[in-house]
């Protein structure tokens, strides 16, 4: 896998092993451009060489803004390529290559598993300050999603978590199934990052900003920071990383679902 990576200049093994995730390669190109290729898909070129995915496929996306954002990620690399900062590129690669070889149903099942252990549904019984904070911050989001999707979620302080009714699962499953494969890949990414199904739904529906969703996901940690102080190399580091991943996932879902709407309209016409 690694040998193949060095052979293909535009190919990086993001998901092959941990070391390559942190490895940095020298920047080997000057100009980054995008062009519209076969089937109206947008491709990214590095010095006239077309960008490829780790799986060796041609890198092509349906959305022009997404292609521009990916090109900007490559363009902003300085002397070495820092793949761990290129979240949109990574998400596109995952959607194109589908390294885990899963279909839509399998992704939906995997994503909905997070509903059983949703961050915002698990409550503490002490300390009192945190109990109140969780109630004040998380309850409005749960109320919002229950009203918006006409479902029942609730919260619990037991170790087993709340019992989610089957109807709630079915509703979310249907909503997830209405997304295309690309958008679903992004949505599952956000769900796994925030360890919640409720927060990403609120984020995609533009009910929350990324900063707020990340804050809600890290509520207990924020409480501890307020009490004991913030440590830059641990707390801020994690917070910024989670923010950038969540923002990338959210943007990816929005851009990919927009592109599919345009396609549908064209087909109807």
């Amino acid at each position: 896998m690694l040998r193949q990576a060095t052979r293909l200049c535009t190919h990086f093994p993001v998901r092959s092993c941990t070391r390559s995730y942190l490895s940095e390669r020298k920047k080997f190109y000057q100009d980054v451009s995008i062009s519209q290729g076969e089937g109206g898909l947008f491709e990214v070129s590095l010095d006239r060489r077309k960008l490829k995915t780790p799986g060796g496929k041609l890198f092509a996306v349906a959305s022009e803004p997404l292609a521009i954002a990916v090109a900007t990620e490559w363009d902003s690399q300085k002397d070495t390529l820092k793949f761990y900062t290129m979240h949109l590129t990574t998400l596109c690669n995952t959607a194109i290559d589908n390294p885990t070889q899963r279909n839509k149903e399998q992704i939906i099942t995997a994503a909905l598993k997070y509903l059983e252990t949703d961050t915002v549904c698990y409550r503490v019984e002490e300390p009192q300050g945190l109990v109140e904070l969780q109630k004040n911050e998380w309850d409005p989001v749960i109320q919002w999603i229950e009203k918006r999707y006409d479902v029942e979620i609730g919260s619990s302080s037991s170790i087993a978590g709340p019992t989610i009714p089957q109807r709630t699962r079915d509703t979310f499953s249907q909503h997830l199934a209405s997304y295309g494969f690309w958008a679903l890949t992004g949505l599952e990414f956000v769900i796994t990052q925030l360890k919640s199904v409720v927060l990403p739904f609120a984020l995609i529906d533009r009910h929350l900003t990324v900063e707020k969703a990340v804050l809600l996901s890290r509520l207990e940690e924020e409480y501890q920071i307020q009490r004991w102080g913030s440590v830059e190399w641990a707390h801020d580091y994690d917070c910024q990383e989670l923010r950038s991943r969540t923002a990338a996932g959210t943007l990816f879902v929005h851009l990919c679902s927009e592109a599919s709407t345009i396609k549908r309209k064209l087909l109807q016409g």
């Binding site: 954002a69 090109a71 009910h207 990324v210 190399w233 801020d236 950038s244 943007l251």
Partner: protein, 110 residues
């Protein structure tokens, strides 16, 4: 709908991040052209709630958050994790401690 601030501030925020990323030539970048075009196209003069504009503003704020947090994460990464394994003195300093000094040496040096 989440409140994300005024469009002008978001737009200037994105441009600031692009300048930090791409250097002084940022005005020639594709992202600059695209962002400016989007913001100009979607200006509304009235105070009426325009859903499409609100959606776009949320997207712009998300992009701003992506650019800003990626830059800050990278800065923290380079500061604390980018230099390989740290020396015991540096690790101790990180948590506000100093390694003990032994004036007469530790006994095993030649």
């Amino acid at each position: 709908m989440a409140s994300v601030g005024c469009p002008l501030r978001v737009c200037r925020g994105i441009l600031k991040e692009l300048r930090a990323q791409c250097g002084h030539k940022y005005q020639e970048s594709m992202a600059y052209t695209f962002v400016m075009e989007q913001f100009r196209k979607n200006q509304v003069t009235s105070e009426k709630l325009c859903r499409a504009q609100q959606e776009l503003l949320h997207q712009a704020a998300t992009y701003l958050c992506l650019l800003r947090s990626t830059r800050m994460h990278l800065a923290l990464h380079e500061e604390y994790h980018g230099k390989g394994e740290s020396k015991p003195e540096d690790v101790a300093k990180l948590v506000g401690l100093r390694l003990p000094q032994q004036p007469g040496g530790k006994g095993w040096e030649n």
